[in-house]
């Protein structure tokens, strides 16, 4: 066994992910928040908007659910663990910073996927037909990784006060929802809104979900998947580099 080798560090990341799921994710309030938060936003728009069809909004709901759930808890894990001194324990263990971050990402990815599957089932129960199942599965997998990397990126500022990070997280997450074609179709967006939507990975995921349920899409499917993959890679690398730099400041 080479403790610093990739397979061994990956195994230790999985141990961290299991710990996160046990401690932070399998909690009543977290699960309820994960389901209800996007659902209430969806209902608010459903009641206020008559011009867009239900199938459009359900696709948006799936996109929003994955985005909110995959980024719900991960930004606060480092601040929580920093204040409880458990992060110091991890830092003194033979685990790289990258493995710790990756473990947190695995947990939020799995949580995001789990809750999103429930939303997809709700969509199907409401009468939507799934036209491109494989595309949807691929989109959910890539986007879950991408959004969990965003969640970890939000945790980069080296504070051990969770509320500071959650406030920052909300400030970034909510505007993204409104520029990503969830409530307003990309076709109806003003040109400046459309320009902004290009920089949001949620835009490409929502486009893929919409294609999966309605066959309609704004970007070519390959472009959506490529954009999500590039965002995932970029956010993962950046979050690991930045966490490595800020980790000692949390101790």
């Amino acid at each position: 066994m080479n403790p610093s080798g990739f397979p061994e560090q990956l195994r230790r990341s999985w141990a961290i992910a299991k710990k996160d799921i046990r401690i932070y994710y399998i909690k009543g309030p977290v699960l309820i928040f994960g389901v209800f938060m996007p659902l209430f936003m969806f209902l608010a728009f459903l009641m206020g908007t008559r011009e867009v069809p239900l199938s459009f909004l359900i696709s948006g709901l799936v996109g929003m659910t994955l985005f909110f759930t995959a980024t719900a808890v991960s930004p606060a894990i480092f601040p929580w663990e920093g204040s409880a001194k458990t992060l110091e324990r991890l830092a003194s263990c033979p685990v790289t910073v990258e493995a710790i971050v990756f473990g947190d990402m695995i947990a939020s990815t799995l949580f995001g996927i789990g809750i999103t599957i429930i939303t997809v089932i709700i969509g199907l129960a409401l009468g939507l037909s799934l036209l491109h199942g494989i595309t949807l599965v691929a989109a959910i997998l890539i986007a879950a990784c991408c959004f969990s990397a965003i969640g970890m990126l939000l945790a980069v500022p080296p504070t051990n006060v969770p509320s500071n990070i959650m406030m920052l997280s909300s400030l970034i997450k909510f505007p993204l929802v409104f520029i990503s074609g969830i409530f307003v179709p990309l076709e109806q967006m003003p040109s400046w809104g459309l320009m902004l939507s290009y920089i949001s990975p949620l835009t490409y995921f929502t486009d893929l979900v919409r294609y999966s349920f309605t066959d309609a899409h704004f970007f070519p499917i390959w472009a959506d998947i490529a954009a999500l993959a590039v965002f995932t890679l970029m956010f993962t690398v950046v979050t690991m580099v930045l966490h490595k730099r800020t980790m000692p400041q949390r101790m």
Binding site: A15, K18, I23, E88, P94, T96
Partner: protein, 309 residues
């Protein structure tokens, strides 16, 4: 002697304040090294640099032959850490905490389970292994984190104030366990405020003051070294002439207190030899002969307050 820990010119600066200032020391294989110092002297900062939790601003640390900066995983694989604050996951049970540690140190599942059972039995927590740690007392938490630090049978153990604020039972259990581990070959780096604990446990102690190492030696040598003059107490089975005693080579003064003589000398070894010769010459028997060294407490206070003897 093999150096398990080699710290060289270790320095840490927070803002403009130098917390640790170019300290260097070695800890040898199989020894218990006590790291002492007043609050804010830089003990915890040094321990955190040694364990790779925070990086040093300059200097190097080699643990078990691995540089903590360039090979952190290999270095950390060889040691266990018991920090000052209990940092087990309180939302997990003791068993889950130990299994997590087993996975983080790369133990196969069966081995981790076997070690967890052994260690929980050793620290008296086996019956409460499935209880969440948040319900544990401070002593139980401390015993648990000691067990967590030992899950992979490390050759080196770092402990930061392991018995601070604990009840007598937990303290005795932990100290006995440390002695036992050391007897089996584990090298121990112990940060403590408790002089009695350091005196009884440690083979050598290092004293840090304002970020600088002011002394490193065996406790007994350190106690003796701080006094330039030594006190010796001697009593004989019958009266001896005071002036003859005071004239012995190396004796600075000899004062009678009750049935004993308190002797001040610069060379303790030479005076003891003179006293033995003197008693033989006087036809007297030495009833008691005590060398009065300062306690480690006194040594610590003098070294850290800059007092002159």
């Amino acid at each position: 002697m093999t150096a398990i820990i080699q710290a060289s010119n270790l320095t840490k600066i927070f803002d403009k304040s130098t917390a640790v200032d170019h300290i260097s020391f070695d800890v040898h294989e199989g020894e218990i090294f006590g790291f002492l110092g007043p609050n804010g002297a830089g003990k915890t900062t040094t321990t955190r640099m040694l364990t790779g939790v925070i990086p040093a601003d300059s200097g190097t640390v080699t643990i078990l032959g691995h540089d903590i900066r360039s090979e952190p995983v290999m270095a950390k694989q060889g040691f266990g850490v018991v920090p000052e604050t209990s940092n087990a996951y309180t939302d997990l049970t003791a068993w889950q905490n130990l299994m997590l540690m087993g996975e983080l140190y790369g133990l196969p599942r069966a081995r981790a389970e076997q070690r967890s059972s052994e260690l929980l039995g050793l620290v008296g927590l086996l019956e409460r292994k499935d209880q969440k740690v948040q319900a544990y007392s401070k002593g139980m938490k401390q015993r648990l984190i000691l067990a967590m630090a030992l899950i992979h049978e490390p050759g080196l153990l770092f402990l930061d104030e392991p018995t601070s604020g604990l009840d007598v039972q937990s303290t005795q259990m932990i100290l006995a366990l440390l002695r036992d581990l050391n007897d089996k070959g584990t090298t121990i780096f112990l940060t403590t405020h408790n002089m009695e604990e350091a005196n009884r446990l440690c083979h050598r102690v290092g004293i840090i003051l304002a970020g600088r190492m002011v002394a490193i030696d065996a406790p007994e040598k350190l106690k003796v070294a701080i006094d330039r003059v030594h006190k010796i107490e001697v009593s004989f089975d019958h009266e001896v002439p005071a002036d003859a005693l005071a004239r012995l080579a190396g004796i600075t003064s000899a004062d009678r207190t009750g049935d004993k003589w308190q002797i001040i000398a610069e060379n303790r070894d030479a005076v003891i030899r003179s006293l033995v010769e003197f008693s033989r010459h006087q036809g007297a028997t030495i009833v008691t002969l005590n060398t009065l060294a300062p306690s480690l407490d006194e040594a610590f206070l003098r070294l850290t307050k800059g007092e002159k003897p």
